[in-house]
Assembly symmetry: C2
Homo-oligomer: 232 residues x 2
DNA sequence: AATAAAATATGTTTTTTAACACATTTTTTC
DNA sequence: GAAAAAATGTGTTAAAAAACATATTTTATT
């Protein structure tokens, strides 16, 4: 658990959300924020743990997940730089409702719960923007529930691949997903066993929809994947 | 579609949420709210439709659901009087993300989107309370995703029965659920086919966990149901 | 009250997916 | 760089749940 200090752009230059802070609030926030580094697969917060911080991802990828029955975990969302997490629990002043871990080596800003809720209370625009973010997360969660419960394996995996594309985009070649996930994570996103994720991925490759080389996945037939995802 | 006017307590006497409005805001809200009556099974709003109102349930029960593949519908939540709905879409200024229909004859207050968002913008405490509500809904949605994807049929049905108990409680006899739902709704809550909901309900009755008489369901072994729900 | 429609109940078959097993490859660790 | 551990790939079997079928009961409609 190395926790070196490092330099990053100030909070208010990261995203539209933090721009809404006043000069005074910026100073206040800067005092209550610190850089933390996490190693690949390191746990950032755990489901059920008392909430103490909210985080802003600076570098790397983070998975938000819940453990279900018999250690099976469901990935709820994957984060990219400047996404925030842990904010729901801070607002509700409840324990975290899910766990977060680093997909790869990560850097984050960590802000104390007190600071975050204070900013929400003092700045209406900021509050409204956080609210909008939560409204988006709620809609996504409800859509995801139906996707995961009603679609078949192929549909669920296609959905996950398209989600990765939407979230992280392509490498410079314009075809290879800019995401290197182990098959187990793909399975945990798609509510299936690892063996079935591997098998279905092979099928997609055989059908020429994707090309697979280790964890590098090329999307060859996006429209066909969309079709499979839509049908179930 | 009968829409008779009827008298109900003013908004601010309904729940803690609306108490936070100032005198002026109460007058403003009262002007933008109207009573609407819905018949059993009548659609209140539909997934994908442009959001125009948020609602406060006054009398009856409402189901919030999403249609998935092949007309299968997933019930996301069931509402009781003074619960609000349609607010997420209004805040995000998006189309509704789910549909709402009356489980039984219902009365609601209907408030225009403009009024609701205006109140949120003008009243910080009110805004924070709405935010708390959304934080709760988000946590419930994420828990529900894992429940519905990872538990087996018996676990999912037990879960739904316990949810009905928690949400609507018992009749005067202290044993019979104060909820008369068709088996199809039970199935749609629990992510299973109607036939399987009926079958599993019969099994539970045979095992002495519940007693069934038409749509009246008595909970006999709450702890055992909790156990089944926990195990999956 | 008669009829039609919808809901409930239950048995059987088929499909889907998890579980298990094991070989092979890749990645970590010392 | 060798050994150990983890991840990938694939076949087989078992379990879970949907689909289908049909009878019966209840509820709605005229």
């Amino acid at each position: 658990m190395k926790r070196r200090e490092e330099h990053f752009a100030p909070l208010w230059e990261l995203s539209a959300l933090w721009e809404t802070l006043t000069e005074e609030e910026r100073r206040y926030a800067a005092e209550h924020v610190e850089v933390v580094l996490y190693d690949k697969n390191e746990l950032i917060h755990e489901d059920g743990e008392e909430s103490e911080y909210m985080w802003i991802l600076l570098r790397g990828k983070v998975r938000i997940f819940k453990e279900g029955i018999g250690q099976r975990q469901q990935i709820i969302r994957l984060l990219k730089p400047f996404d925030i997490f842990g904010y729901r629990a801070c607002i509700a002043d409840e324990p975290y409702n899910s766990s977060a871990s680093a997909v790869e080596n990560c850097a984050v800003y960590r802000m104390s719960k007190e600071c975050f809720t204070q900013l929400i209370k003092s700045n209406g625009t900021f509050c409204y923007n956080v609210m909008l973010m939560m409204a988006t997360d709620l809609a996504i969660s409800e859509i995801q529930t139906v996707n995961l419960t009603q679609k078949h394996i192929r549909g669920r995996l296609a959905e996950s691949l398209l989600l990765l594309l939407k979230n992280y985009g392509y490498e410079e070649d314009g075809r290879t997903l800019a995401t290197l996930l182990p098959r187990e994570d793909l399975a945990n996103m798609s509510n299936m066993t690892t063996a079935n994720a591997i098998r279905t991925l092979s099928q997609f490759a055989q059908e020429g929809l994707i090309a697979v080389e280790g964890r590098h996945i090329q999307i060859l037939e996006e429209n066909e994947l969309k079709h499979i995802s839509r049908l179930g």
